[in-house]
């Protein structure tokens, strides 16, 4: 399969990337790891006039502490995140989720910025970033803005990214001491995309759960935070009964995806099972 013709530009800096995007006035696409875009180009689902390659912009590839946040450059690969000691220390669900994406070849080149810009409902980063209270930093020729992950992911392959705008950074507040996080996933056996992926963050102090965050990938047409599960456990004792009761509330009141891997009722069941596994891992 051969893509349609396009021009190729490799940007050396964020400014250069933004001006290249502006020059092409909506007809250029950003190329990062290419592991969602190139398959789409090969199928000619997408036929942009130009690609602007940002993968080698060194200023977009870092994972560092920035005050009480961890800042991740958009061009950081899944492998960079899987092997980050800083993230392993503060938010272990990040390296854990990264290590479950696709396969080693995909993790070597696929990037977090590309994944969230693509917003595949079965991708792993969206739900993880919701549970992490992440902010997404966006930059365009007219300036910078920052959105809560909740306001960035708008639906099925849909985000708040505007034409000509780049995801430049993901910012994650460092959780309070005693907070644990996990990502548990039921993978599609061939691609390893999430049929159900559950990210959970809980702080347990003196046996009581607080700061409960539970978010899903793969279950609905977009990632979502599951307020019913969170409310059911917030302020409660970290016991197996309370975890089971909270997990039983999972995936209520949302539209559930259905395909030949998992029908609606089976997916709902999996969401409850994976919520229980995730909560047991962080609060059990």
């Amino acid at each position: 399969m051969i893509p349609a013709n396009f021009e190729y530009h490799r940007a050396g800096s964020v400014d250069e990337a933004l001006s290249l995007l502006a020059t092409h006035d909506g007809n250029a696409k950003v190329l990062s790891g290419g592991h969602s875009l190139i398959p789409a180009l090969k199928l000619r689902l997408n036929q942009p006039a130009a690609l602007v390659d940002i993968a080698r912009i060194a200023a977009l590839r870092y994972i560092r502490q920035d005050g009480n946040h961890i800042a991740i450059g958009a061009a950081s690969t899944h492998k960079d995140i899987a092997t980050s000691a800083l993230l392993a220390q503060h938010l272990s669900m990040m390296p854990q989720a990264a290590g479950m994406i696709g396969d080693p070849q995909v993790r070597n080149v696929g990037t977090i910025g590309g994944s969230i810009a693509h917003a595949d409902p079965a991708a792993d980063w969206p739900g993880v970033l919701l549970a992490a209270d992440a902010e997404i930093v966006l930059q365009s020729a007219s300036g910078k803005r920052s959105l809560a992950a909740q306001d960035f992911f708008l639906g099925f392959f849909t985000t708040a990214l505007a034409e000509g705008e780049l995801v430049t950074e993901i910012r994650i507040p460092i959780p309070a001491a005693g907070t644990k996080s996990t990502y548990q996933k039921f993978s599609q056996p061939a691609s390893r995309f999430a049929i159900v992926g559950c990210a959970a963050v809980v702080q347990v102090s003196n046996g009581t759960c607080s700061h409960v965050r539970v978010a899903f990938n793969g279950v609905s047409d977009s990632c979502f935070r599951d307020g019913n599960v969170e409310k059911a456990l917030e302020g409660k004792a970290a016991t197996a009964e309370n975890i089971a009761a909270a997990a039983a509330q999972a995936a209520q009141g949302v539209s559930i995806l259905s395909d030949h891997y998992a029908a609606e009722d089976y997916r709902t069941h999996l969401a409850q099972v994976f919520a229980k596994r995730a909560l047991s891992a962080v609060a059990g």
Binding site: M1, P3, I38, Q105, V106
Partner: protein, 162 residues
């Protein structure tokens, strides 16, 4: 409009004019006659097209030739030195790690990525490292043994993978 790229492949520098849409695997196979990287699925799934880019295993059917401008690429053709098989290749021979051989170059390049990062992998780690490579013949057991053979050989001889 074609673009000029310069890339070092198996230690040799190539400068070529390529169309931006040309996939790396076709650049290797058709422009340079390096036919070691195979096209199995052409949809990023099977790993038969795996090559190393700056030491990292990547599927060359999902990479544009323009993306490797200025990098070092290693294909299976670059592993044997002076007519002697690379220890990973020798491992596949000793442990009967191939039947039809179609998946083998990709398996070997994924093994090279693994052994650079993890010189003494467990069986489970080897199996995880091969998640992006499909074999339709062997059932994987002998591929795992081949990589164990290579890991042992590389350690005994204190040799670098690349």
């Amino acid at each position: 409009m074609s673009v000029k790229i310069s890339v070092t492949i198996n230690g040799k520098k190539y400068t070529s004019q390529v169309e931006p849409r040309q996939l790396l695997v076709y650049y290797l196979r058709e422009a340079l006659s390096l036919t070691g990287a195979h096209v199995g699925c052409d949809t990023s799934s099977c790993g038969a097209c795996t090559v190393l880019i700056d030491g990292n295993a990547v599927k060359s059917c999902t990479t544009l030739a323009v993306q490797v401008d200025g990098t070092q690429v290693t294909t299976v053709e670059g592993l044997a030195k002076n007519g002697t098989l690379h220890p990973i290749q020798e491992g596949f021979r000793q442990e009967h790690g191939l039947q039809c051989g179609f998946c083998t170059p990709g398996m070997i390049m994924s093994a090279a990525d693994l052994l650079q990062n993890n010189p003494n992998p467990s069986e489970t780690e080897i199996r995880h490292a091969l998640e992006g490579n499909f074999c339709r013949c062997t059932g994987y057991h002998n591929i795992v043994r081949s990589i164990q053979w290579a890991a042992k050989k590389l350690q005994e001889t204190n040799a670098a993978v690349l």
